[in-house]
């Protein structure tokens, strides 16, 4: 029973990280739109696609981790979720560094 509680708590914490990633992605989208509006600019297709990618990636990875983890042990599922968070974090760092945000605006 205690083991099950710990598993659920860890699972909820990992899920919260995914939720944070999505919320932060939405926040980036809204924030950059407001900022560009203040500057008299609009987001172009490149900007939209990168920001939407940032929102979609955690969702996709979360789903994939759950699908791969089906019919596996609880520990392995948690490991899969954790791996997914780390992969999303790595990809986000990559995007953050490689794509200059000045290309997001018209």
């Amino acid at each position: 029973m205690a083991g099950r509680i710990v598993t659920w708590v860890l699972g909820v914490l990992l899920t919260l990280l995914y939720v944070y990633l999505v919320v932060a992605g939405v926040g980036n989208l809204i924030g950059l739109r407001e900022m560009s509006a203040l500057l008299g600019l609009t987001l172009n297709a490149v900007g939209w696609s990168w920001l939407l990618f940032g929102i979609a990636l955690p969702v996709i990875v979360f789903a994939v981790a759950l699908v791969i983890g089906r019919a596996r042990s609880a520990g392995l599922r948690l490991l899969l979720l954790a791996t997914g968070v780390c992969v999303v974090a790595a990809v986000q760092l990559e995007v953050l560094h490689l794509v200059p945000q000045s290309t997001f605006f018209v």
Partner: protein, 163 residues
């Protein structure tokens, strides 16, 4: 056609130090008859008539290859970890400076996410290993190769102006 003259390992007349190959079966026969031990050179390709032995050897080779593959990819992943670690360090410091005024929860979460990136290679390796424990070796190799592609630290390879 193979010459059927009985040959034992002997010093070559071409160059001193070079050994001419002993015919394996003849050498074995000679060894069984005369008692003189002549080792066939393992470096030379085996004759086709010793096929059973060579297939047994190839199975051994496969698992050796898998071990080498695991070692190579593990080393690559370690290298990735190192690079990601340095980038996470850089960006977390930059973010901490920039986002001083923003909410506590958001900045803590963002720091967590930054520091999650260096863990990605290790976790991927572990996950792939555990998921493919009962499966074929090539499956594990495939997953590890996918990881090596997905997790390649592009910021270290491409020089840009930065964001």
């Amino acid at each position: 056609m193979r010459k059927k003259t009985a040959r034992e390992a002997r010093e070559s007349a071409l160059a001193s130090g070079w050994m001419l190959e002993a015919d394996p079966e003849l050498a074995a026969a000679a060894a069984s008859v005369g008692g003189a031990q002549v080792e066939p050179n393992p470096d030379v390709v085996q004759a086709p008539d010793v096929a059973p032995a060579s297939t047994a050897g190839s199975r051994e080779q496969l698992s050796n290859g898998a071990v080498v593959l695991l070692g190579v990819i593990g080393g690559l992943y370690l290298l990735y970890t190192w690079v990601w670690f340095s980038w996470a360090n850089y960006y977390s410091q930059m973010n901490a400076a920039v986002a001083e005024g923003s909410g506590v929860i958001g900045s803590v979460m963002q720091q967590l996410v930054f520091w999650a990136a260096p863990l990605a290679p290790a976790l991927w390796f572990l996950t792939a290993f555990l998921l493919c424990r009962g499966a074929r070796t090539w499956k594990l190799a495939l997953w590890l190769l996918i990881g090596a592609v997905v997790l390649v630290p592009l910021p270290a390879l491409v020089i840009t102006g930065g964001a």
